[in-house]
């Protein structure tokens, strides 16, 4: 049956182009996680489903890292064809995108502290209490819908680890999330109780761009075939998500909890060597990204500063507006606008958008440094240049500029070091740089200690030489 479907559609699609699919490896197992044996690869049940789809379409699956919250926007701007990473089926998703048939049914379950296990059994028991969940999920929507009718107070998180640690710490009274995430957190951190009776059921789907209905239909046919022949069940069993009874589920969780934690600590030490190459590659991306962005920032910054110091009011006004808008809004927002907001007009590759976003942002700050430095050069220096017969351009190039550059050097170096670290923000537009790679690694090993230390050491190794170079230059120039 599946070969019949393939025969019908794959030749028309250009049979051997890779099948790009997007997911968030930071979401971790069992959906998508970096493979501990080879961190450059991913594994998880969503990965295996992507492999099945790729296999049946005769296309090699190619994984694209994307922040979970950005999967829908990225699939629409054609960063990849299929988004699959525990994407929840919900009416708004179907309204905006092409959506596959559900391939896994999950339960929204309440996690509470042991002491509250008898008190808080349903959402109704939690009226006026703080209930945490992941932002942008069906669970969050459910909490929002319940709130006006005397329901709990929804607390939204950006990741699925902190709701549970905050539950244990007493900052929230319950967590409402998929049984899969709850199960994983219980194994990983423990210390809370999952209510057996589900609040609601939901399902995971693959999301495609609204225009991609033909591919969606092929995906549906493949999923049905794989459900029929048992290979999907096999995958879910392999990832321990094929639980049938809640009684057995709870018993297994308690059993697994202690073992998973011990294994995680050993694994994190053992896998340092296997993750280091991936981290160093990511550090290379961070460095390249920062250098290109800084070159852009310095170039544009000099032009803006010169325009604001030398230009007519007609030139100065728009430049001042540019600087104030950039400095007055978050760089995160600017990156989103550049990457997703403009995708209707110009579809920038993620790396280019990252360089442009960071570069144009820092250009505003650089221009203020250069402007202040230019204005700090005494007027008589410029007059001396004029009485010698130099043109205004020559005075800028030979007298004012070089002296201003010396003044600007220290703040410029500070900015470059700051840029090196701010470059971690571009992971929101699907660029995997050092911090993102570390987060993927940390999710994978279930601890931030070793990945955090490695990541810090790499950042220090990148920024310390810069600070030293700047100090040496300053010393050289101030001694003459």
């Amino acid at each position: 049956m599946s070969s019949f479907v393939l025969g019908a559609c794959s030749p028309a699609n250009g049979a051997h182009a890779p099948l790009r699919w997007g997911g968030d490896a930071e979401g971790g197992a069992p959906f998508v996680e970096a493979d501990p044996a080879d961190p450059a690869k991913v594994r998880g049940f969503d990965v295996e489903i992507a492999q099945m789809i790729g296999h049946d379409l005769h296309r090699d699956p190619l994984f694209v890292q994307v922040a979970w919250a950005s999967i829908e926007a990225s699939v629409e701007r054609a960063d990849f064809s299929i988004g699959m990473s525990g994407v929840e089926d919900r009416p708004e998703l179907r309204a905006r995108h092409a959506v596959s048939i559900p391939y896994f049914e999950f339960r929204e379950v309440l996690a509470v502290r042991f002491a509250d296990s008898a008190r808080y059994r349903t959402l109704a028991d939690l009226a006026g209490k703080r209930v945490a969940t992941l932002g942008g999920t069906g669970a969050y929507q459910m909490l929002l819908d319940a709130q006006p009718h005397g329901g709990p107070i929804p607390i939204s998180y950006d990741d699925d680890v902190h709701p549970y640690s905050d539950l244990v710490a007493g900052r929230v009274d319950a967590v409402l999330l998929d049984n899969i995430i709850a199960d994983r957190s219980l194994r990983r951190t423990g210390g809370f109780f999952i209510q057996r009776v589900p609040v609601e059921t939901g399902s995971y789907v693959a999301v495609l761009a609204a225009r991609d209905t033909a591919l969606r239909d092929s995906v549906n046919a493949i999923l049905r075939a794989r459900m029929r022949d048992g290979s999907l069940e096999k995958t879910f069993r392999a990832w321990h998500v094929w639980d049938t009874t809640q009684t057995a589920y709870f018993a297994r969780v308690l059993d697994d909890s202690a073992r998973a934690r011990a294994a995680g600590a050993i694994a994190s030490v053992r896998t340092v060597r296997s993750y280091l190459p991936a981290l160093l590659r990511a550090a290379g991306i961070t460095l390249l990204l920062s250098c290109l962005a800084m070159v852009l920032a310095v170039g544009v910054g000099i032009a803006v500063a010169a325009g604001r110091v030398y230009g007519s009011p007609l030139v100065r006004a728009p430049l001042a507006v540019y600087v104030e808008i950039i400095r007055g809004t978050p760089v995160l927002l600017q990156l989103f606008v550049l990457y997703y907001g403009l995708s209707g007009f110009v579809r920038l590759p993620a790396f280019v958008a990252a360089v442009l976003g960071l570069g144009l942002n820092y250009a505003a700050y650089e221009s203020e440094i250069y402007r202040a430095a230019l204005q700090a050069i005494p007027r008589t220096q410029l007059e001396a240049g004029r009485t010698l017969g130099l043109s205004e351009a020559q005075i800028l190039r030979l007298v004012r500029g070089p002296q201003a550059l010396r003044l600007a050097l220290a703040p410029m170096t500070n900015d470059f070091v700051a840029l090196l670290k701010d470059s971690s923000l571009v992971s929101v537009i699907t660029v995997v740089e050092l911090t993102k790679q570390t987060a993927i690694y940390a999710t994978n090993v279930g601890s931030w200690v070793v990945p955090g230390i490695l990541c810090s050491l790499i950042y220090l190794a990148l920024s310390l030489p810069l600070s030293r170079l700047a100090r040496a230059l300053e010393k050289k120039w101030s001694s003459v």
Binding site: A384, R386, E392, P402, Q403, W477
Partner: protein, 252 residues
Amino acid sequence: MTQALDVRDVHASRGAVEVLRGVTIDVAPGEICMLMGTSGSGKTTMLRAIAALGSFDSGSIVVDGFALAPGPVPPESKLKVLRRSVGMVFQSQSLFEHLSVLDNVTLALVHALGWTREKAETEATALLTTLGVAHRMAAFPRQLSGGEAQRVAIARALAPDPTLLLLDEPTSALDPARRSSLGEVLRGLAAEGHALLISTHDVDFAEAFADRVAVLAKGVVVEEGSPRDILSESTHADVRALLRSPSNEPPR
């Protein structure tokens, strides 16, 4: 004989204050003319107007045949001829801090006159030797003493060989021995045919080295003549005030 500098009835105001109220003065080639007056008498305003660094409202300023029009200072592109004729030594010297002594002097030759670096360096070395600071060629301005910086500033202004050299309070940072040594240098420049207009309130310096003295008070020239006539014999109240000013009180 045509004048190197011819200033006629120049009025200039800064804000609401009329600083120059009809100044007339001229300087011939080979002549050292000292513009004297107390602080606020308008000396610096006059020099800045001649160097086209400040505007003037009416009257005429002609430097070596080039007439500056009253009104706002014209753009540099209209001042090419004037810039070649007038050199200026600032009271603060204003040497370029990021350049060596040699590069300070060659800058205009290479970039304004388009000389080759070799030719410019030969000329600059000769000038610095004449002024007695050739041994400081590789130094940077902040490493120089006040007297050395003064000479380097003169060398820088002289490099393009201007007809008229303006010096604003050149003795203010110098001790008496260095003042007289500076005076000798200026004498030598005049002997080469340069016209020198020097603002100062230093009476001893003027008596020793000026060919002619013009006393400026409240924006007009109140007395003009040989240093001896003016400085020892004038009965004019403003000239007596100048002689009594703190920096001219004996003993020094």
